[in-house]
Amino acid sequence: MLQHASLVLRDGTTLDDLVMRDTNEVSLRVMTDEELYHHEMERIFSKTWLLLGHESEIPKAGDFIVRDMAEDNVIVARDRDGSVNVSLNVCPHRGMRVCLGEAGNKPIHQCIYHGWAFRPNGDFIGAPVEKEKMHGNNVDKATLNLKKARVHLYGGLIFATWNVDGPSFDEYLGDIKYYMDQLFCRTDNGLELLGPPQRFVLPCNWKVPGEQSGSDGFHTLTLHRSLMEGGIMGGTAETIYDQAPGMYGVDVSCEQGHSLRCLEAEKTFKMFADVPFEGKSTRERLELLTPPGITREMIPQLFRNLSEDQVEQLATIPPQVGGMFPNILIAFIFAPRTDGGSSGALSLHTYVPKGPDKVEFINYIFAEKDAPEEMKRDMLQNAIWNTGTSGMIEQDDADVWPVIMKNARGAVSKGITLKYQALHGHERPDGWKGEGLLYPGFTKDDTQWNWWMAYYNLMAKA
């Protein structure tokens, strides 16, 4: 028997009524329920690690960016000691935003309402007219600091959480780290964000794009059929379902709900079909087909920063798309161009909740810092063409999600369930080196179900 969860909504509905663990279904109601949304804000978004940006956005002391942890606005700032700090952008005096710009450099953040001032690390400095003690007579100044979040840098990515005593970042990441390292921690100088992120708002619940980020590979064949029609992927418009390009590989996942789809490049893209991989060493394979974002000159860096097994995987069956629970999508893709280039595209999205029926899509576009300028330019273009606001792939996703959301409002439609019943079950392929939950073959629903199980486990805990 499954242990039942403690979450009960006011009308008596339990978490188990919404996320049906015995039949692998989820009620469409989860997408609209206002009460559930408030529980999610407390049990998920105040508890897990959340992605806020990249170190390269704030290279110098005093540099800051302003981002959101769900509906909580925060200042992400570099202090004089080089540390990256995340503090709530809410003045402890009377609740005004302390920082009104989205990015810039400030050694001191002064609230424009009554003038209280704070350091980049959130420490309270003082209120104007010092001798009048406008911060209160007998107050310990440290209690007037901006509320500080716990910060962790991973491959330069800035993560923060309000859960000060909760799991470490590595515990949060779990077994998927081995694979994520192949994307984020593979070069000497790491990644660089190419510009401030694209931002746009979609009229849907955060979980509509969220559950897709749990490696929904299958939707590509139909929703993104223009990829096949464009002749970039293997197959043609007529043979999409017969050849099913990009469907076969190894999906990797873990109980924390993160996942990645590892795909053999030569089986995905037409232009690589003649690349002879049989009998080639890791190094030779890398020379033949460098991973997205990597140049031939950078190959020795891969061996320096990753284990031999990790490099072998990156050369043979690299992780390409996936996500981190709760709201990150990863697309580190080959993106071959019609002009013959294939420097790739490195995009990361966060889906930031803005109420039960609104989500902000933030698109971060990267290149390796050591890549030549020309390649960075090329990768920026590839990423813009394929992902985000105008991306030819993701335009279509942005079209589906609000419609699902509309459906979720109907009194009858609400009772329809999302189905995750095409399951493969964990199976370790021969010679596979990494850990985690592994699903070789045709991409199925396992990783997305793991995403929902991570959701369930957090929602079950008050």
């Binding site: 710009g101 931002r199 746009f200 708002v201 030819m392 079209d399």
Partner: protein, 193 residues
């Protein structure tokens, strides 16, 4: 005009440039002004009516078509808000052809198509250094109706164009679309601006 793209995330590698740069003004009501205004109207009609072949026929082969993102900024940087390091669109003639080609097959984002109206106003024209090229700045107000939603999605922008006289017809050689929202309220840019 500046069309440089520099890859760095730190936002101060940006410029303040907006509007018309040329000092050689082409006055409202002059023959060249009128012909360019008509071209802008024809272009808007071609896009609204989804006549993409007619639209792409108006594009020069060396087209650069970009929509930089906007940031909210304060203090000394308050007007440095057009971020020419990151774009919503970053297109060439070839990529536009790829996009319009896709729209004729399976582009679910525009199938069913949205119903658009492009309102073009505040047109100012100046001569470029190259003979036969004109700098054309206009305001764009896009109303987009999608599906059965009674609320339109909208976008406002300034467009900084270069139009080139090629055998008596004007071709679009440069377009910079300066959108006004830092966070777009439109769920995608599957339509052209």
């Amino acid at each position: 005009m500046t069309w440089i793209t520099k890859s760095t995330a730190a936002p101060d590698a940006t410029t303040i440039v907006r509007g018309l740069v040329s000092k050689a003004r082409v006055p409202v009501g002059s023959p060249v002004y009128n012909a360019l205004l008509e071209t802008l109207y024809d272009e808007a009609a071609a896009l609204d009516e989804r006549r993409f072949d007619d639209w792409t026929a108006m594009l020069a082969e060396d087209l650069i078509y970009q929509a930089p993102i906007r940031l909210t900024r304060t203090g000394k940087t308050r007007d440095l808000d057009v971020m020419r390091t990151m774009f919503h669109f970053d297109e060439t003639h070839e990529s536009i052809m790829m996009r319009t080609g896709r729209l004729q097959k399976s582009a679910w984002a525009e199938d069913p198509p949205s119903r658009c109206r492009r309102f073009v106003t505040n047109v100012r024209v100046g001569e470029c250094d190259t003979a036969g090229e004109y700098e054309v700045v206009s305001y764009l107000f896009l109303e987009r109706s999608r599906g059965d939603s009674p609320e339109n999605e909208t976008a406002t922008a300034e467009r900084r164009d270069v139009w080139r006289d090629v055998d008596g017809a004007y071709k679009l050689a440069r377009r910079e679309i300066i959108v006004d929202q830092s966070v777009l309220g439109m769920s995608n840019f599957a339509v052209f601006l």
